[in-house]
Point group: D2
Chain length 485, copies 4
């Protein structure tokens, strides 16, 4: 079957009966809701790009199951070349949407599960891998959007899952039946949840034996009975409800994070990929995190490109593009942005094949990549704000610009260089506001910080992986300490 | 007459006939408008604090004109002690409002004009100083809120005022009459403009002879004929229009910046403090900027205290307050915040008396202070976002929390440590969102960057002031280069 | 008696019978030893400056004991003005020597002991204060150089003093006799030790009851029986032994740190200022550290001035002084350097009077000052190396420059702009090398890092002092959390 | 013929009649001179590693000319895999020597010339490529060490080569003869010059037609008539002359930079690779710089490993290895070090084939790599100094440790944790001193800053390469500016 276009994708979402709450109301048609639609638009771009001849090689792949051309977002990486293409594809999509297009989490989830289910079966003689591959074939053939759901609410972070006063603060199996399992709990900050066909659930941390009921992974259709979505607020979200789109900055696209409540949801066994095999939770989390930390080396560099472009434009519109300090700040922004990208490429180039045949990224470098992502977008945003000037936070509304009486004053007094219309200048101020403080800052700042794990999670991994024994030995040899040989 | 309370102040604002536009509508009663009111509340705190016995010494001063106790915001600094008290007062107000309370610009304007008018008269034998002192006495006796209006739209920044295609892009004298002057132009990013009794206009940059009609300073009542205000949009501004206040984060206070259009406004001579004396524009800008750069060492440290407190609270609510990395980040936030404050204190302690008797801050250190303010609040905000976690950008709305059906799920799943109500935790997430990305970020980020001049302005001043000849000589002496003696 | 000149001071050192080891040899006349002499020269500047009319007000003070004019380095601070003058004096001396002039530690020690001995006596009815004041009068009247000795070797840092396998790794009282005490142990990294008249010993950390024999403070003449000095190596130290002074960079001055071994040294009671009063060790360390952390806001800014001057000179000699990136780096260096100084001034301006009458600096801001000192000199040095270019690390020796055959090639090929002699250019390269990697880097880098306590010590103090309860309350009030009032 | 060992290499150096000056003396046998020998040892490691079975794949390659196994340092890159192996090889050598092993410049030079000579011939019909390939075959077959010499003295940097008061401040052709050319000038900071068999000269910057006599590239044996070497001083260089090796820190290896004077040197045509083809100088410099900026992603990461290991060891020896702040600093050091490495890998993975068949690195990412190298080693060194403590700059000499009388005190008082001998602890302090301030700091700091071009050179390249037009267009599309399509 042919790969779907963005339009097909959007239509397919209408067929679901998802239960979505937003601003205290249940939304009957989320796809058309003005708060939600821009995030659907961003997700749809992951379909459209597969039909763009400029990006065909990046955006599609040949399935290792069926041999058919598929959308790359449902592909299992078969080489380091595949891993590098992933980073490049994400960068292009970041450039084209200027926000989070929400499809990486599911992609990273299927790649993780492809190796983990294989290894569980190798060790414990289960059938998870077969089930998973059936699920994957179905996803590839129908070109579905999978949402990856990992983060639990966690409650009191000083307590392990089983010791929480409320045992549901980590999602868990509350019943094991012959035909499947029943799960209860919630997943928070779930990217693109409301825009997906399938929800893939994974444990959020390494579990021990006493927490084994929390060691659970499965996939269910997004409109499964018992699932409730509560839409997350974002900075400036209600500008999407206003007349006129200019004040949005990014006039068409935005991201989405929602909370998913699993109110005793039944999952049939053929959709269960882990149930109590706590021994594999650490590896699952580590691998998923590494893939997702790699992702940010692509998508955030792409959004960074947009912000750099906007900063360069506003400098031009203000008539200062030739000032040495402006040029120097743009160089710095590019330098930081390319460093992120370089780390994404490096952990891909240093990837390796696992027993299942799936390629995994270099875990150390993927963590290094993400740790840079928790810093550099903040500095890039700071520099963009510096270049732009105060109007990003003081410009009057679009309605004032269009006002019959005072519009002329705004046209007159908010003009920059002569050849550029005032409205263009204001639009770029709004785009910078969007990325630095508004809707887009959720994707560009908060996600960069906490998506794929908070900075401390990366630091812990770096500490765990680097071979300090080797480094200490190197030092001993050079210092002439005899014992070292 | 007694010093006004916040309540008196708010009432006094009703008597003005200001012409204010907001979201494309003319606002009949700005003081009660829900978008504007929080900024009035913040400004009112500058009045109330003068009655708080804990801060009496900081918040009031004895007028050097009348010998009466006055609100310190209308005081001319008479000592370095006064300068230090200014910084301390601003810090307390930043702590109490968590936003920009808008009254420093006018304060810095009167201090600047007190010395500049004196010196113009000394040189050119004018009567500006006497006029200014009459105005000041009136302001002190009536305890008025003066708005300082400096920044012009500037148009094409590569061109000087007189060479702009539109000569009005810097405010200028278009007519000199026997009874006064007529001015045309606009001032942008004007803090607290709509909340003021008097507007004090100053030139935005050093002018040369050929731009002398732009060398103009004066004061007019805020509801003078010909003045139009257009209210600036801020990130998340319309949350103030929503039912419920929780999603605001800072439930009572916010800042304000507006554009002021001067559509051929008449100013009588007794209110004119500079008219064409371009020779004094450089000094005026330098002194005003220094006072205002000092201010930020106080107010931004105060807002920083709030954000540090919020970060510490959320760590506690999440159960991670004892983690070494959390504690270390809080130390870093405090360190940066105190560095800003230290620079504010230092430029005050190193202040000096000018011919008029007014005390000026040390200009080099005031610029150093502000340059740190263009950096550290961004890093403090980044660390706060790191400590807080993703819910600052993904938590559902207050309406969802209050919803009869799904409210219980939010109560359950968004809970942190047991002893803290979910709502408290959400309120703190919203406060952090407010300061990092929402309403408060305008004051804490954009103002820190561009208020009192963008970073490059500080760098230019630092370059101009430091005595490099002396430093080069020091190096020569130590290196044994003979010529140096 | 008149204040001594540098020459008098140097002569006075000859009269001591100190036991000094250096490069495996006992040095008969340390004052004249070419490795040591430059540090004596730097110390002598603290005497000479008291006679320089430009600095008379900074470098002298009126004794609060005798009412006589004394060298400020032996003065007990009587006001915040005194505290600020201290910072200014140290900055000038840093500028004039380009290195550590070694006299602050003793100064900070006497100020600390002036309040601590007073308070011990108040609490325990001892006579320490009287003894100390007698000692101080003697020091002031004879204008002596006091060395402050605080840091113990510490051995295994995970163990407290009494639990070390070797109990002597912290200096301690090994015998209490009727006429005095006998102490054993060592003090390391002791600045200017070999150049001093008196050694003032203080405990290095807070002690508990079981470590009370380590709670000891006293003063002894530097040539007391049982004291052995071992001179510390510094980067490039032996260049001082070479013919020609050019390769030193700083041709006349350097710093000094030595290890002092106390091999069962007797101290008469009149010279004992603390003996087992462990309850006061925490306060002693905290106060001393605060004074010394303030000091760095002066001296390191002074050395920074030299390095900034050298960087500006080399830019000029290379013909790049007008490049925008060079100018921008010089601005950054100045900005960082002035931030350090501002913190030094601020903790002084915020100082306060203690029961003994001595003025103490603001402890929070003094720690903030020092924490900045552990960072900014490193960045200033990095920028200086950037501006200078590779010759700081690849230029041939002075001997090659003077060589009859090849000297001409060096003259020809190492020339920069025409008007500047090649030798001048090379001298400035050497001065930059000195401060960044050579002799001077000990004072400018390592001391900035570890002098007055390593960065973690400042972080611990900051964490302890800031009022987080207050900050959390501020946040609660603004977020509308009811309990907070 | 077999690949040479380090021993063979060292012997081969004896056969040369190089004219070397050091400390004002001509050195008859540079290979055995104690100042020079450690740099020979480091260079020899590039030969020995080719025989180490652990690194055989990294350290050797198959010649694309002869098909023979050769030392990789003389290989022309034939794939991105080759480029990545280069980075890995350099990292291992940095780890094994802890310093600059000097062989990359020549390697980068032959790769650059392989494509440039090819392209000159394509355009101008010359025989440079054939000549160069003959030279390369000779180098590969004899396993020679080529020194790359690029940097000219430059004189007054504000003037182009031909406008310098002294025309020789850039190396130039002073005579063209039938059999070859005569060149005059000098090259400075030349890494490993004295340790090489062949000197490959390249122009240092883009030349224009009027500077065409400066557009010259050639190779000559290192002992060619008219060549004089003057050895560069390094921090702490004379410690190599002292008895005992402990105070060196790195007891066996160091780097080397020398000045090479070309006093009218004749070069036969078969060794000339560019003569006046100024049109290719920009490309030559850009390509060489990119290769060499890639190199630093390997070698500096390797030296970083040593410093990280040393910092971890000293923490252990001090008994603080479990402190959270120490662990956190080690994580940070690793993070920065791996970021450098990741950039080295990324610019290699993104390499591409040129017309000559040679693979070039991605030039943008190579510049990004190097720009990070101008920052992170400085921060890694700062953190190492922080972890180590003051003894890196105050520990007494090895002679004092060995002294019959006082050695016992040093053994006693400079001990850290019980199980570690005092001498081991001191050796690690010295290694850290070496890398941060001593001999090794030349390679780890100054070279990181200025080798392969100073930071501003990378910034200029980044500005030139990034496609800002594309980025501005991305922003326009998202902001809804119509013209953009």
């Amino acid at each position: 079957m042919p790969i779907k276009t963005g339009k097909d994708y959007i239509e397919s979402l209408h067929n679901r009966k998802v239960k979505v709450y937003l601003f205290g109301e249940e939304i009957s048609n989320p796809v058309e809701h003005p708060i939600i639609r821009p995030s659907v638009n961003a997700a749809a771009m992951t379909y459209d790009i597969a039909h763009d001849p400029n990006y065909h090689d990046l955006a599609t792949a040949r399935s290792h199951i069926t041999g058919e051309k598929i959308n790359r977002f449902n592909h299992i990486h078969q080489s380091t070349e595949d891993l590098i293409k992933k980073v490049k594809l994400l960068r292009v999509l970041g450039q084209k949407t200027g926000t989070c297009f929400q499809r990486c989490v599911g992609w990273d989830a299927i790649n993780t599960l492809s190796s983990i289910t294989y290894e569980i079966d190798q060790k414990f003689g289960k059938q998870y891998y077969e089930r998973f591959m059936n699920f994957l074939r179905y996803v590839q053939e129908n070109d579905l959007f999978c949402c990856g759901a990992m983060t639990d609410p966690k409650g009191d972070r000083s307590l392990s899952p089983g010791l929480q006063p409320d045992p549901d603060l980590y999602l868990r199996i509350v019943e094991k039946r012959e035909d499947g399992i029943v799960v209860r709990g919630a997943k928070v900050h779930i990217t693109g949840a409301v825009n997906s066909h399938e929800i893939i659930v994974m444990p959020t941390r390494a579990m021990t034996e006493k927490d084994k009921s929390y060691a659970v992974s499965f996939a269910v259709p997004s409109d499964t009975e018992g699932i409730i979505y509560v839409y997350g607020r974002q900075s400036c979200d209600t500008r999407k409800l206003e007349e006129g789109k200019m004040d949005l900055g990014n006039v068409k696209y935005s991201g989405q994070e929602a909370m998913i409540i699993f109110d005793d949801v039944f999952v049939p066994w053929e959709r269960v990929f882990m149930a109590e095999e706590y021994e594999f939770t650490a590896a699952l989390v580590e691998r998923f995190a590494a893939y997702h930390r790699q992702s940010y080396g692509g998508c955030k560099a792409g959004v960074g490109d947009v912000l750099i472009g906007a900063a360069a434009l506003i400098a031009e519109y203000n008539g200062v593009e030739k000032s040495s300090h402006i040029r120097d700040k743009l160089v710095e922004m590019n330098h930081l942005n390319e460093t992120i990208y370089a780390c994404g490429v490096a952990c891909s180039a240093e990837g390796y094949k696992m027993p299942s045949g799936t390629y995994q990224v270099n875990i150390l470098l993927a963590n290094v990549c993400k740790l840079n992502v928790t810093r550099f977008p903040y500095e890039i945003a700071r520099l963009a704000e510096d270049i732009a000037g105060g109007l990003i936070a003081t410009a009057p509304s679009e309605k004032d610009l269009r006002h019959p009486k005072i519009g002329k004053y705004l046209q007159k007094y908010l003009k920059g260089v002569e050849k550029v219309p005032t409205e263009h200048r204001l639009r770029i101020f709004r785009l910078i506001e969007n990325l630095c403080m508004g809707l887009g800052s959720v994707g560009y700042r908060t996600e960069s910080m906490h998506g794929a794990g908070s900075p401390q999670a990366q630091r812990i991994m770096i500490e765990r992986i680097v071979d300090m024994t080797h480094k200490k030995k190197l030092a001993k040899v050079l210092a002439g300490i005899e014992e070292a040989t």
